[in-house]
């Protein structure tokens, strides 16, 4: 016996009748939660109340960005949420462009939207993989990450890095031009992704649907009240998409439609993702047909950090990333570094108010299904 005094059975006080509730930690050191924890107050199998416990991935991005030049911030911005690094690059690059008033060349804007949509595609594949893992459907998880790797091969080919594009979409355009032969590489990537989407349809068998239907139902007015955006809001029936309402880059020249569902439960959120993947493929096809020629970055050379100046001003840029509405408020007072950067990640609202609202009164067995149907990413919540 260890020499420390160990608690024998007599010291464990028996639970009295009314005190049948106990705390149940879902995360952070847990195979189903990523680095984010939820403290559940549980009575048997039923969750009485949930309290989010964030902060495990808090790196203080907003403070870090105040000490770096925009080019360095671009490299930093893809770590805001590595599951869709290029989307976050785009949000940051647009904020700086709007402040500096640079006219981004046409070809760079097309490449930017091309990479953002490919990043949305692979982010949705991760989402499908992780929710099928949460429901215990192991094949879906393994295949989704297998097919996502094909998208990463394209990122490796174009940006030089598989997961970390290192600020590929940077203020002023993109860092490199597209290498030779990117067209047919992307075309056969779209073929492979379509192959995976057929498999997703084949795999939506009764057991998968039965686990997700009617689970974590979110009504429209609750979604609006709690600040849900993106697929979570569209699953409740609200037809809104920042790419259409607050069009940025070249989204107003592309035609794609906004899928919506009505029930607002975990299964509806899964259906939304499948339809959004089809739309993304449609967008990528249109871009490949109309890719213009020309420069890829406004100031060809990177200006040395000492001589960088951002004109005085403030700007609020909103983008539609895979998880919802991502926004950056950037304030500059004319120096090289931004004076204040406020990053608004969609998961900040999905993981604390929406998750706590949905987990109330659910079953323990449904917690991972609800949790991962919101496609949460602790990185852009903690920042």
């Amino acid at each position: 016996m260890s020499e420390k005094e160990s608690i024998g059975t007599e010291q464990i006080e028996p639970l009295t009748e009314e005190e049948t509730e106990y705390d149940f930690y879902f995360g952070p050191a847990h195979s189903g939660s990523g680095n984010f924890g939820v403290k559940l107050r549980v009575d048997g199998e039923r969750v009485v109340s949930a309290r989010a416990d964030p902060g495990y991935l808090h790196r203080g991005f907003e403070k870090l960005m105040e000490y770096r030049v925009p080019m360095q911030n671009a490299v930093l911005s893809d770590r805001l949420c590595i599951l869709e690094a290029l989307n976050w690059n785009l949000v940051h690059a647009e904020a700086v462009d709007e402040l500096t008033g640079v006219e981004v060349p046409k070809r760079a804007r097309y490449i930017r939207v091309l990479m953002a949509e490919l990043s949305r595609l692979q982010s949705h594949l991760i989402w499908y993989g992780v929710i099928s893992l949460a429901l215990g459907f192991d094949t879906g998880f393994k295949m989704a990450f297998g097919y996502r790797d094909y998208v990463l091969d394209i990122f490796e080919f174009i940006t030089g890095g598989r997961v970390y594009p290192a600020g590929y979409i940077c203020p002023g355009g993109v860092r490199r031009d597209l290498p030779e032969g990117y067209q047919e590489k992307i075309m056969n990537l779209l073929g492979q992704t379509q192959e995976m989407m057929e498999k997703i349809k084949d795999f939506s068998n009764i057991v998968f649907a039965r686990r997700a239907k009617g689970v974590g139902v979110l009504k429209m007015e609750d979604a609006l009240r709690l600040g849900a955006t993106g697929p979570v809001l569209r699953a409740c029936g609200m037809k809104t998409d920042v790419r259409k309402d607050d069009a940025y880059e070249i989204y107003d020249e592309l035609d794609f439609d906004i899928p919506t569902e009505k029930e607002g439960d975990a299964y509806a959120r899964c259906l939304i993702r499948d339809k959004e993947m089809e739309q993304s493929i449609r967008i990528v096809r249109q871009i490949l047909d109309r890719m213009p020629e020309g420069k890829v970055r406004e100031p060809e050379k990177i200006t040395p950090p000492k001589r960088v100046k951002i004109p005085e001003g403030e700007v609020y840029v909103r983008n539609e990333i895979a998880r919802g509405e991502a926004a950056i408020y950037m304030r500059s007072v004319g120096e090289g570094e931004p004076y204040r950067v406020k990053v608004r990640g969609p998961d900040f609202l999905h993981m604390i108010p929406v998750l706590e609202h949905l987990l109330q009164g659910s079953q323990i067995a449904d917690v991972p299904a609800i949790y991962w149907s919101l496609n949460i990413c602790p990185a852009d919540m903690d920042r």
Partner: protein, 127 residues
């Protein structure tokens, strides 16, 4: 019934080639322009210190050459600490003479800590 299609897909995949690659024996070819280990062409370096300034993690530091090369390379040259580097290639893009470039070598794990500090070496000395 959808369960039949699921099982059908499984058996089709069972007899088709797996997607995974057995890494040490077969490997996916790394494309050009991959951001791997640095390579410094010391003769063309004018030690303008731009790479040290732009590096977001301060991984690059300008250092004197060791005694035996001092008279041939009097100026200061970039020394890269690979543990701090995030392989963003900003140093490669900003270098006016394009003498600090990134190779495709990403197999950098090494037990001995000193191998991670890449000191500037003359070409014929070799990395």
């Amino acid at each position: 019934m959808s369960m039949v299609t699921t099982v059908g897909v499984l058996f089709k995949t069972l007899f088709s080639k797996p997607m995974t690659v057995r890494f040490p024996y077969e490997a996916i070819e790394i494309p050009e322009g991959y951001r791997g280990e640095h390579e410094l062409d010391i003769d063309r370096c004018v030690s303008c210190n731009l790479c040290a300034e732009i590096c977001p993690n301060k991984a690059i530091e300008m250092v004197e050459m060791p005694e035996e090369h001092k008279q041939k390379y009097p100026k200061t040259y970039p020394r890269i600490d690979l543990r701090k580097c995030c392989f963003c290639a900003l140093c490669q893009d900003i270098c006016p003479r394009r003498c600090l470039t990134m190779t495709k070598n990403v197999f950098l794990s090494t037990p001995d800590p000193s191998a991670v500090i890449k000191n500037p070496m003359p070409r014929e000395g070799g990395q």
